[in-house]
Assembly symmetry: C2
Homo-oligomer: 239 residues x 2
DNA sequence: CGGGGCATTGATTCGGATCAAGGATGGTGG
DNA sequence: CCACCATCCTTGATCCGAATCAATGCCCCG
């Protein structure tokens, strides 16, 4: 469990900056706090509706984004039409900074989503003069790389139940505790595409956990964790 | 087919620098050429024997490396003892620069391997004064990220044959052609761990390709590509 | 020339995909 | 406010691909 996903319960109310500024799939845990102060002034707010496209794979890169509320799906289509989701950006996460000249992924709003966007050119210019900002960006990129690795390792050789359990724990954030309610902004299909499974298999895993009284499912967009430890056991060895 | 692996036939004779300087799994295709001139002078040569450890996951980070000859396996052990290989570094590739304070992966020599190593502290210092070097490192990190993404996407939802075919093509490098001989420095088990398969399945795929006259297998450490196009068809949709 | 690690092949098992129905939910218009 | 409809979710039955289990063969190295 290393890949981060901001604890989505509280995230909307704490739109502070953190080093997760460059990469692209999910996000990066904040360092202390007010990093990236330097680029704060560049930001402008924008909104996207359910399933609306923020940018397409191949688009030229204009902006990097930070999620204020909602969630963003970062995906790619294979030639035969399957969709693979490389990551989600949740409130507090940043994305779009890991691209070169063109976006390597498509970004879509999962539901109603509010973002702050930054002109990349401006950020890059600021970087030239600011060693601290530079180091933050570099650190963030490195973390992203480590996360991608973790995701990768989780997907090769974890069972369906392990993947789903690990995913729920990621949604729960850094300090999961019994009884906590986790918001699940994305559809089952999105989860499946992210975990390399099918919708049915994700459902079955969730149902199974529910039968085992490890979680409760009050509704489609929320899950309550009843036994964190059991869930962690199920998630097994992301190491 | 986006994740790079230097064409290993010619690589040993062209130990030039390229932007693949920061990330960690395989490597990054060179930009034109003599990038990283700036850190060349920091390098010192070192050698490792078959299966020797270069650094362990969790070690504090001292050096970054460039492969001169041989091959390096970048892996991690899961809690239950399984090994996952995040990538290979082949001649010309660099690794060890994508880590933060501690290595997130273990690096081992696959066979007899010669490396050049760079004190990271020195490189970082050089970065402060050299915007060009900085940009190169940044670009490299971004590419690494994109590669990790590609690997990730390949592993979720590709069949065993597709993965093996794609892997062989990666070993073959950028311009594969009929009749070319590809060196396969790693064992079947390594390939399996990298692709998220078992040794047996990798073998079966290779045997199958051989029966279909798409490749020939003169010995364990080499494969001849007889029909690139067929192999690409098999590799399917890395997109 | 013998031995030990790899590689290969075959038989069987098992997990998750696929195919096929239902059942819940939320959004819309009457 | 309710009924309807589309979309999403859930569950069940079956199938298939890769893992697992089990030999055997092949090199390479001492």
């Amino acid at each position: 469990m290393r890949e981060p996903m901001i604890a989505n319960t509280a995230a909307e109310s704490t739109p502070r900056f953190h080093p997760a500024m460059l990469g692209m799939p999910p996000a990066v845990r904040p360092e202390p706090a007010d990093s990236f102060e330097a680029i704060r002034k560049f930001g402008s707010v924008c909104r996207f509706g359910r399933n609306e496209t923020i940018f397409n794979r191949g688009d030229s890169v204009r902006y990097a984004y930070r999620v204020v509320s909602g969630a963003v799906r970062l995906s790619r289509l294979t030639r035969d039409g399957q969709r693979r989701i490389a990551g989600f950006a949740l409130p507090g996460d940043m994305f779009g900074f890991g691209f070169g000249a063109n976006c390597s992924l498509t970004a879509e709003a999962v539901g109603e989503t509010t973002l702050v966007r930054y002109l990349r050119a401006q950020v890059e210019r600021a970087c030239e003069d600011d060693p601290v900002l530079r180091r933050q960006l570099m650190t963030m990129l490195r973390q992203r790389l480590a996360e991608a690795e973790d995701h990768l390792i989780m997907l090769t050789g974890q069972s369906a139940n392990e993947r789903v359990a690990a995913f729920l724990l990621r949604l729960a954030g850094e300090s999961p505790h019994d009884g906590m309610s986790v918001s699940v902004p994305m559809r089952r299909q999105d989860i499946a595409d992210y975990l390399g499974l099918t919708t049915e298999t994700v459902c079955r895993a969730i149902s199974e956990f529910q039968r085992a009284r490890i979680i409760a499912v009050p509704n489609r967009r929320a899950i309550a964790i009843r036994d964190v430890e059991a869930l962690q056991d199920l998630a097994g060895d992301t190491e």
